[in-house]
């Protein structure tokens, strides 16, 4: 546990140094995310999906930000695997003796502050620009936590695929395109999907709607199941890669 805390700390420092050294990526990312929302908002208005009460705008902002966070978290392990393999530092991770799964989970968690900071700034800006009203509630914390756990689980699945099959960038982009609308818009057919349900609960909480305990239980079960599946598949991919001698090869 102590080693994992150290690892978390080391990753935190490393990601901070990268941000300080390459600030343009952060700033441009923020601007682009704002621009993309502006376009989405325009499309929604043209399609007549926004009402005068501002409730739909609130839902759109929440869905958009959660979607972006989900994409960043899902892409985290896969992106980190590729980067570590490219720089040849995956070997150091293995030699650290933490186990690759624990290492990548800690890495994604330590680096999530980057997306959180970016999205918080965007959240404040969008609320200000579109004059949306939100109800802040402590229950948002467990809802967001479970949503993040589910996204991390899916990220580990993607990381497992990259660990074994390396060049899967195009397929990965398509998967992200599938996940983003599922989080952003409330699709009734996808209510079983933990990310959709997590986003739905968060949206309701922000709109001041009470949540049914059954919905909480389903979200918790789904998030834990997805995370467990991710851990299992990543560990299996790690084992297979070591057996096939693929670990560390580009």
């Amino acid at each position: 546990m102590l080693r994992l805390r150290q690892l978390f700390y080391a990753e935190l420092i490393r990601s901070w140094l990268e941000l300080v050294r390459y600030p343009a990526q952060f700033v441009l990312g923020l601007l682009l995310l704002g621009l993309i929302f502006y376009l989405l908002f325009g499309f929604a208005r043209l399609a007549g999906a926004l009402d005068s009460s501002g409730l739909q705008t609130t839902k759109l902002i929440t869905g958009y930000l959660l979607g972006i966070f989900a994409l960043a978290t899902i892409g985290g392990p896969a992106q980190q695997v590729s980067r570590e393999v490219k720089s040849g530092s995956l070997e150091n991770m293995v030699l650290s003796g933490q186990g690759l799964t624990a290492f990548f989970v800690v890495q994604v968690l330590a680096r999530s502050w980057y997306s959180l900071l970016q999205l918080s700034l965007l959240f404040v800006a969008l609320v200000f620009v579109y004059k949306s009203a939100f109800v802040l509630n402590w229950l948002l914390l467990p809802a967001f936590f479970l949503f993040s756990i589910a996204a991390l689980g899916l990220g580990l699945v993607a990381g497992a695929v990259v660990l074994l099959y390396k060049e899967v960038g195009n397929i990965f982009t398509l998967v992200q395109l599938l996940v983003f609308p599922a989080v952003m818009v409330e699709v009734p057919q996808l209510q079983w999907f933990p990310l959709t349900q997590g986003a739905s609960i968060t949206r309701k909480l922000l709109s001041g709607v009470a949540i049914n305990p059954v919905d909480w239980a389903i979200l918790a079960l789904g998030a834990v199941a997805l995370y467990s599946l991710g851990v299992y598949l990543f560990q299996t991919a790690d084992l297979v890669a070591r057996k096939k001698g693929l670990l560390g090869h580009e």
């Binding site: 490393r14 530092s89 030699l95 650290s96 001698g245």
Partner: protein
């Protein structure tokens, strides 16, 4: 002690299976530099990668001081240089790279900073401590890769071709450090194709051929074993029509004979056969590791 016992490894695809390691056993004791030699494809790197835990063996056991492969106690005792050109985070400076590696290998932040400073100074990289990694020369990157391998001061070290592609100064610095670490009681397993490097650094030599260890002996013993069988004899006059039941070569002047005997006693038979040619001098040829390596790993030509 690093203990490798009967490891086997084959890489399989849908169509075929290639055996890389048939049955490899070796040990590396504290204070020992063991050179693992072999031709390309003999299985050196696979052996190193198995000991690191990067590749899983199909059979066999690997342990360090009784701790089995993969356990945190095992990993804590091991440092490894797998690739001299890679391993650095490009967005971090050399100091930050070392500090990060020290922390993930279990050091506190303050201890990691001290260790990073010490290693940069030790390897002559202090001036470049804050330089962007992209601006480092190949030699500097290799030194950094070495520094990362020894970041947490491990008692055992694996070095896969540590001096490959280095200029003479950088190679000397690394060799000096390897010798100092061995003198300090660290156990080191290194692979190299540079026989002179192996000869200078190692105290033990293991030679891999076709996935098996064909020899594993203290270097001195190996050199002595081969040295006692080869002789150089210089004649005052050229020899004509020489026929001998031994492997021999005669130089272009027909006055210098080099002969390889099966055992030391055959020298008497040889001298009898050479009589009455006027012998100027006889000397035992000191074997070098390169020659021994060639003899032990020579392959019969394959016929299609």
């Amino acid at each position: 002690m690093i203990h490798v016992e009967s490891i086997q490894k084959a890489y399989s695809s849908k169509t075929n299976s290639v055996k890389v390691l048939e049955d490899v056993s070796l040990e590396v004791k504290p204070g020992q530099v063991c050179a693992l030699l072999g031709r390309n494809g003999s299985g050196k790197t696979t052996t190193i990668r198995i000991i690191c835990g990067l590749v899983l063996p199909d059979a066999g056991k690997v342990s360090i001081n009784g701790h089995t492969l993969g356990k945190p106690e095992y990993m804590a005792q091991l440092g490894a240089l797998i690739d001299t050109n890679r391993g650095l985070y490009p967005r971090l400076s050399p100091f930050e790279n070392l500090q990060y590696t020290c922390i993930i290998r279990g050091m506190s932040r303050s201890a990691a900073s001290e260790r990073a400073k010490y290693l940069l100074d030790l390897l002559g990289l202090w001036e470049k401590r804050n330089a962007p990694t992209q601006t480092l020369s190949k030699g500097m990157i290799s030194k950094m890769a070495f520094a990362l391998a020894i970041a947490h001061d491990p008692p055992y070290l694996l070095l896969d071709e540590p001096t490959l592609g280095l200029d003479i100064d950088a190679a000397e610095t690394l060799e000096e450090q390897i010798q100092l670490m061995a003198a300090d009681g660290k156990g080191i397993l290194l692979t190299t194709h540079q026989m002179e490097v192996a000869e200078r650094l190692s105290s033990r030599v293991a030679i891999l051929a076709d996935g098996r260890i064909v020899v594993d002996k203290p270097k001195r013993e190996l050199l002595d074993m081969f040295a006692q069988q080869r002789y150089r004899i210089v004649f005052a006059e050229p020899l004509m029509g020489l026929e001998l039941p031994y492997v021999f070569t005669l130089d272009s002047t027909n006055t210098v004979l080099e002969v390889a005997l099966q055992c030391a006693n055959e020298i008497y038979d040889l001298l009898d056969r050479l009589r009455p040619a006027p012998i100027k001098s006889i000397e035992k040829i000191e074997a070098d590791l390169g020659q021994i390596f060639k003899n032990l790993t020579k392959k019969e030509p394959s016929h299609a």
